[in-house]
C-alpha cells in the first residue's frame, strides 16, 4: 500500500507539473487518470520495491549525487580528450568488481553509477560480481580502488 500511495503521489505531482492546469474539470480528469493508472499498475503486479524503488530515496543521496555528477564530468572530459587525441590511448579490458553492498538496491545503484560514468560500463551483474568493460587502464584502476563502492555502501549503510 505504501508503494501504491507513493506511485500515485508521484503520478499526481507529474501530472500537475507537466500540465500546469488548475481548472476543476481537468483536475478531476487528471485525478481519475492517476487513480486508474495506479490501480492498473497494482493489478499488473508492478507495484513493489522494484517498480517503485522507495529504498533508493535516502538522505545520503544529497552528498552522493553531487559527487557522482562530478565524477561523470571528470570522466566525460577524459573520454572526450581521447576522442580528439591523435592516439586515443585506448586499452579496453574487462574486469570483475565485487560490490560490498548488502541490498540488491544498493548493488543496482552501484552498477548504474559505473555505467553512468563514461569510461566504465557494467556489462553483467551476478549476485556479488559485476563484470565491467573499462575503456583504458586508468578507468579500470579508478574503479578497482573501490572509492565509488565505498560511497554507495556508506549510502545504504545506516537504515
Amino acid at each position: 500500500m505504501r508503494h501504491t500511495l507513493a506511485l500515485a503521489g508521484v503520478l499526481a505531482l507529474t501530472w500537475l507539473l507537466w500540465s500546469g492546469h488548475t481548472g476543476a474539470l481537468l483536475l478531476g480528469l487528471g485525478l481519475l487518470s492517476v487513480a486508474a493508472t495506479a490501480a492498473l499498475a497494482r493489478r499488473m503486479g508492478l507495484v513493489d520495491g522494484e517498480g517503485v524503488p522507495l529504498a533508493v530515496v535516502r538522505p545520503g543521496l544529497i552528498t552522493y549525487l553531487p559527487w557522482l555528477l562530478w565524477q561523470v564530468v571528470l570522466s566525460s572530459i577524459d573520454v572526450g580528450r581521447r576522442v580528439w587525441a591523435r592516439d586515443p590511448g585506448l586499452a579496453p579490458r574487462m574486469l570483475h568488481v565485487t560490490p560490498t553492498q548488502a541490498t540488491l538496491t544498493g548493488r543496482v545503484l552501484y552498477a548504474n553509477s559505473i555505467t553512468l560514468t563514461p569510461g566504465t560500463i557494467s556489462v553483467m551483474m551476478e549476485d556479488d560480481d559485476i563484470l565491467v568493460h573499462a575503456l583504458h587502464a586508468e578507468a579500470a584502476d579508478g574503479l578497482a580502488s573501490g572509492d565509488m563502492d565505498r560511497r554507495v555502501t556508506a549510502l545504504e549503510g545506516p537504515a
Binding site: 507537466w18 573520454v79 576522442v83 580528439w84 585506448l90 579496453p92 555505467t115 553512468l116 556489462v123 575503456l135
Partner: protein, 127 residues
C-alpha cells in the same frame, strides 16, 4: 547580456560535448568502446545543453526568476513549467540512457561479441 554569455558558453560547451561523443562513436574501434563515447553525448552533452536552456528559462527574456523578482507570479508560470520539463527530460535521458547502454552491453556480451583489445589490433575486423 551577461545571461546570454553564460547561456552561450553552456550551450557551446554542451554542443562541443555532443559532437565529441558522436566523433568518438565514429572513431573508436568496437561497439563497447563506442558506448563510452556515446556516454559523453548522453551525460555531459545533454547535461550542459539542458542546463543552458534552464538558465535561459529562469533568467532570459521573460524568464521565471526575472518575472518573480518583479512580482508577476502569473507571468512566471510558463517558465517554471518549462524548467520542470527540462529537468524531467534530463532525468529521463540520464536514467534511461544508462539502462539502455547497460542492456546493450549485456546483449552484445551474451551474443558473444568479443571486445576489441589493444594487442590484437591487427586482427580486429570491426572498423
Amino acid at each position: 547580456m551577461i545571461v546570454e554569455v553564460v547561456v552561450g558558453i553552456l550551450l557551446g560547451l554542451g554542443g562541443l560535448a555532443c559532437i565529441t561523443g558522436a566523433v568518438g562513436l565514429l572513431r573508436f574501434p568496437d561497439v563497447y568502446s563506442r558506448m563510452h563515447a556515446s556516454g559523453v553525448t548522453d551525460t555531459l552533452g545533454a547535461g550542459l545543453v539542458v542546463l543552458g536552456l534552464l538558465v535561459w528559462a529562469a533568467l532570459g527574456d521573460g524568464g521565471w526568476a526575472t518575472a518573480l523578482a518583479e512580482g508577476h507570479a502569473e507571468a512566471a508560470k510558463p517558465g517554471l513549467l518549462q524548467s520542470v520539463k527540462l529537468v524531467s527530460i534530463l532525468f529521463f535521458l540520464w536514467v534511461s540512457g544508462t539502462t539502455a547502454v547497460h542492456a546493450l552491453a549485456k546483449a552484445a556480451w551474451l551474443d558473444g561479441l568479443v571486445p576489441w583489445t589493444r594487442d590484437e589490433e591487427g586482427a580486429s575486423s570491426t572498423r
